[in-house]
């Protein structure tokens, strides 16, 4: 009755991370459980995108749960420690944890860095993405960053390349660093969901037409604030609808 596959996988993966944390004295089982819960939440959120009509209430509850876990992990300091071990990047702002979501091959080849992740806060200032932001809940302060780690598709083979939590969140909340919409298509190959706006993704819908939105969105490449993004998105939608 109860699926066990996901948990086990995450659990197995976790051991490697835990093993590399020298001197990390937290109760392993609680942290592991918490981590796997977080991973499970992220998977569920991402799966929402694939559903025809995701349930908004469910999405919000899952996102709140994930946020709660993340906040607790931040308070614990678990968040920072894991990140420092994994990425080897200098910045303490860059956080990471096990990546249960697959990144697109395109992003991997672009060598994306792990975007910074400070909290589940509402901070969109650093978003560089020009894609319409698909968002299920708050998230993300995101900076474009480069991730030298291996392709997550090889995750099972190289557990140390576990990517990063923020990347997962990015994909869930649609703050894709990749300027190429194909990255999203790689993830959701049977759904043409290259572009989202907040409303539509929250309801699992897409506000896109197939005509020329690539060009329209290209012009928004320098958006850096959420608010202006959203206003622009509304504007784009209006244009598309009228055209």
């Amino acid at each position: 009755m109860f699926a066990r596959g996901i948990k086990r996988k995450c659990f197995d993966g976790e051991e490697d991370i835990e093993g590399t944390l020298a001197g990390f004295k937290a109760i392993p089982s609680y942290n592991l459980k918490r981590q796997s819960l977080l991973d499970m939440s992220l998977i569920k959120l991402q799966l929402c995108h694939m559903l025809v009509e995701p349930n908004l209430c469910r999405s919000v509850l899952i996102a709140n749960t994930a946020r709660q876990i993340q906040e607790e992990m931040t308070q614990d300091g678990t968040w920072q420690v894991i990140n420092a071990q994994n990425t080897g990047q200098a910045s303490l702002d860059q956080l990471a944890s096990s990546d249960i979501l697959c990144r697109s091959t395109k992003e991997q080849s672009d060598g994306k860095l792990i975007p910074s992740y400070s909290s589940f806060s509402k901070d969109f200032e650093d978003i560089q993405s020009q894609d319409i932001i698909s968002d299920l809940s708050t998230v993300t302060s995101v900076q474009a960053s480069r991730n030298p780690q291996g392709n997550v598709w090889e995750m099972e083979n190289s557990p140390e390349n576990r990517g990063n939590f923020q990347k997962s969140l990015d994909q869930i909340f649609g703050t894709l660093e990749n300027k190429n919409p194909n990255s999203v298509e790689d993830l959701f190959s049977d759904v043409d969901n290259s572009y989202y706006d907040l409303d539509t993704v929250l309801t699992g819908t897409m506000s896109n037409t197939k005509m020329g939105h690539c060009d329209v969105l290209e012009s928004f490449s320098s958006q850096t604030t959420t608010n202006s993004n959203i206003n622009e998105l509304d504007h784009i939608v209006e244009i598309l609808v009228e055209s």
Binding site: M1, M40, E53, N55, C57, V60, T65, T138, T140, D192
Partner: protein, 484 residues
Amino acid sequence: MLKSKILVIKYYLLDAEWVDSTFFWSLNRSSPKNFTPYLALVENMEGESIFEVDSEDGVGADIISTVEFNHTGELLATGDKGGRVVIFQREPESKNEPHSQGEYNVYSTFQSHEPEFDYLKSLEIEEKINKIKWLPQQNAAHSLLSTNDKTIKLWKVTERDKRPEGYNLKDEEGKLKDLSTVTSLQVPVLKPMDLMVEVSPRRIFANGHTYHINSISVNSDCETYMSADDLRINLWHLAITDRSFNIVDIKPANMEDLTEVITASEFHPHHCNLFVYSSSKGSLRLCDMRASALCDKHSKLFEEPEDPSNRSFFSEIISSVSDVKFSHSGRFMLTRDYLTVKVWDLNMETKPIETYQVHDYLRSKLCSLYENDCIFDKFECAWNGSDSVIMTGAYNNFFRMFDRNTKRDVTLEASRESSKPRAILKPRRVCVGGKRRKDDISVDSLDFTKKILHTAWHPAENIIAIAATNNLYIFQDKVNSEMH
């Protein structure tokens, strides 16, 4: 169309013996257009099987998604995932057949909603009926509102039992007569005919909601009703379809700030200016439409502080209110969250006056239930006519009743196996380990795919309707000593 008989299962409300006589009614709903009902496990009084039980396949579109009695209890409407509505009517009791007192038979069936495609968003709109609400009857016809995720429809149900005969220009089949054969004039007369129930859509209230409609509620003024989606509540006039008035809007300016959604809402049964809506964070807001046009600011906020000893990552999810119902008196509200039902007094906002554990044994299983999504199941709750007993569903086809006066509770099962004619329906028990009595079910063997989400209680009598996936059970208590 077959008029299928629903033989009623008898029980004693919360007492002694639950007598189960038969019943149950399951539609073969594989094709919405070519609807043919069939009976499953119908046995007559002698225990002979009348129809064979068909297998429980083709569940998909047949899953009952809502159940609602009308204001007199004479009619019972069910909606299903395939967009169909089936209305049952209670047979009047007759002295000639004492054992067929008050059984519910199929009265009418119609396709209320069809699947639609939203071309702008490239999304399908499900035809599943989320809610049905009856309008108070104002003339010979019955009216009900049915809604799917996006569109509400007003249906009028009328009976025709007479037809005119004796036309001058048409013959019996309706063909034009040869005028030369017409030698005299006659006045058409109304002759009785077989009862025909006609259902027609009178109003379609569309394009009012961006998000999925989760509840509708008819106002006591009988002129307006409200519809609530995840973020907004709209007020409609029953006669006006091209506009609605937004009375609650909790959509944040930035969607990424969204942390709370509306889960259910209902008008007060007597005060046409008051309504309540519940949220995913476990709070209830009572709003007064006289206070302001936009009721974002509540008049009263009902919220129970969290119990710190029970805190977990799932605390918020299990506190999300899945259903809210005013008592018939209008003095109390009943809410259902994942593990409990709570009775609130409108005069006390700080905490509920009563809390009943529905299936507390699941508290230690929340992680698994989160994994398989069961934790998001939305159970409904119901009051009985006198507001003394409350009822709600659970898993394994169990449903629970709580007597507010005696503080006793009972768990019953809606299943074919336990439904033998005239057999006593026995209370069930879930054991958590420790002492296990015979016939107890252990928590680990509960079937979480068999969930009773939708239940309804007759407004006056002790008759309940239980929707168990694609089967409808109607239970009635023994009122007549002849039934012994």
